[in-house]
Amino acid sequence: MHNPSEEFKIPIGPQHPALKEPESFSVALRGEKILGVDIRLGYNHRGIEKACEERTYIQDMYLIERVCGICSHSHSTCFIQAVEEIAGLAVPRRALYIRTLVAELERIHSHLLWLGVAGHEIGFDTLLMYTWRDREIVMDILAELTGNRVNYGINTIGGVRRDISSIQIQETLKAMDLLEERTKYYIELGLEETTIIKRLSGVGVLSYEDSLHFDAVGPTARASGVKRDVRKDDPYASYGEISFDVITDTGADVYARTIVRLKELMESYKIVRQCLKNLPDGPITVRAPRKIPAGEALSRYEAPRGEDVHYVKSNGTDKPERVKVRAPTLANVQAVKHMLKDRFLADMPIVIAAIDPCFSCTDRLVSLKDDDKKADVMTWQALHDYSIKWHSQRGVDFGKLNKKLQERLSK
């Protein structure tokens, strides 16, 4: 029998009921207590940054949108802002307002989605069904305004591709009223429901200092009292002309993160209403050159999960020379390790879910140097062999399993 005073390692993922995306965690446990967590990424790495260099700016826009399907507008806007800055384009105000509008609608859909997932992780599936039902309201509006439910494709270099009609404005306003009413109910639920309060408070604590130390972003940081929001600190699109509050909380736990997100929803409704009310007249695009002059730019954007950063370097052709994406989850994932330390295993799903992770944004490639052959990059086979050796040194024999797999595959 296993001795409970000994350290015990369990692998979680890449396919696991608590995870929606393929990532893998190796959790060291003593009894129920987590001693440490190793996060292994890369299952979702597709190599988008590199692929961007082989495609034109217009193609890149659609590719970048597919970095993440939940904050697709965030990535495409962030990328386009950088390109527009290099090209020196003055985007029409109406286009900026439409971008802001879609950005907030996206935040609404993302936060409602999160609330459902969080409910699911604590075994409150009714909440999942409720919020996802309400989320369909905003999905309808997004589909109506942009033509697609997700991956809207509304941006184009120099503006937006679709205008908004007055009927759509009315529809959107109506939907906001409905959603606001529902959100009020969820806030009430969050503030009064004892099971939620008991399950979430004191879990996954990240103090103010730690939050600064690990450079947490977005609602994760704001729930630890760090007033950090790109929309206020470095206004882009039309946020400079809109009044809203940055929601913070001092609870520093999962419960605080829930409350911050819920209250942010209310702010989003406010912003959407202002955008629609003050929507300026005029064109929605300016003509953009096909070739972007040489230069570089860094663009910041407050995605639903936190600050998203894109860096673009152009070389005068119609393809970028380098594109770099720093998605919010990459900034937050470091803090997860800290939040989980000395906590219980049962808290793990909700603590991970509480940063609203998006691993498709985050997945990186680590380039390894081959020591033996002095080659710059390891070949796939060499990397494979290396990993088998690495695991066998730690007592896991993949060699046999692998042979079996290969035999099956060759059949």
Partner: protein, 147 residues
């Protein structure tokens, strides 16, 4: 076909349990799969239930292109499923690689690695399309069983 076989076939068609596996998707197809299971679309009325382990599942709903790192996992999960098993590729990129075609870490669509029974295109495939695909798969099985 004897009676026992008939009952088995009937129950199989009325309760197709699915396992959802993200093989490198952008998340959009995944949230659309979940959306298809929630009240507005409610795939559950066809007996579809989301399962947590491959051993309980009849249908593997895959989303996303196959990345190099996930490839072995995908095969392993497929092998773990009990017969008869079906694979449904959800979204353009799991059908063919889609926008990610040509990326260095991409193997291509799901069918580059395991056999696929149904393809649901769309980027992302809308919940309606996912329902349509699953129902069509069930219908085609029903016809086959009937013979």
């Amino acid at each position: 076909m004897n009676v026992v076989q008939k009952v088995i076939n009937w129950s199989r068609l009325k309760s197709p349990w699915v396992l959802h596996f993200n093989t490198g998707a952008c998340n959009a197809c995944d949230i659309e799969i979940i959306a298809a299971l929630t009240p507005r679309y409610d795939l559950e009325r066809f007996g579809v239930l989301l399962k947590a382990t491959p051993r309980h599942a009849d249908i593997l709903l895959c989303s996303g292109p196959v990345t190099r790192q996930i490839e072995d996992r995908l095969v392993r999960i497929y092998e773990q499923m009990a017969e008869p098993k079906f694979v449904v590729a959800v979204g353009t990129c799991s059908c063919s690689g889609g926008v990610f075609n040509g990326c260095y870490n991409i193997k291509g669509g799901i069918n580059a690695v395991i056999p696929v029974s149904a393809y649901i295109p769309g980027c992302p495939a809308s919940p309606k399309a996912i329902m349509d695909g699953v129902v069509k798969l069930l219908q085609s099985l029903e016809q086959k069983e009937g013979k």
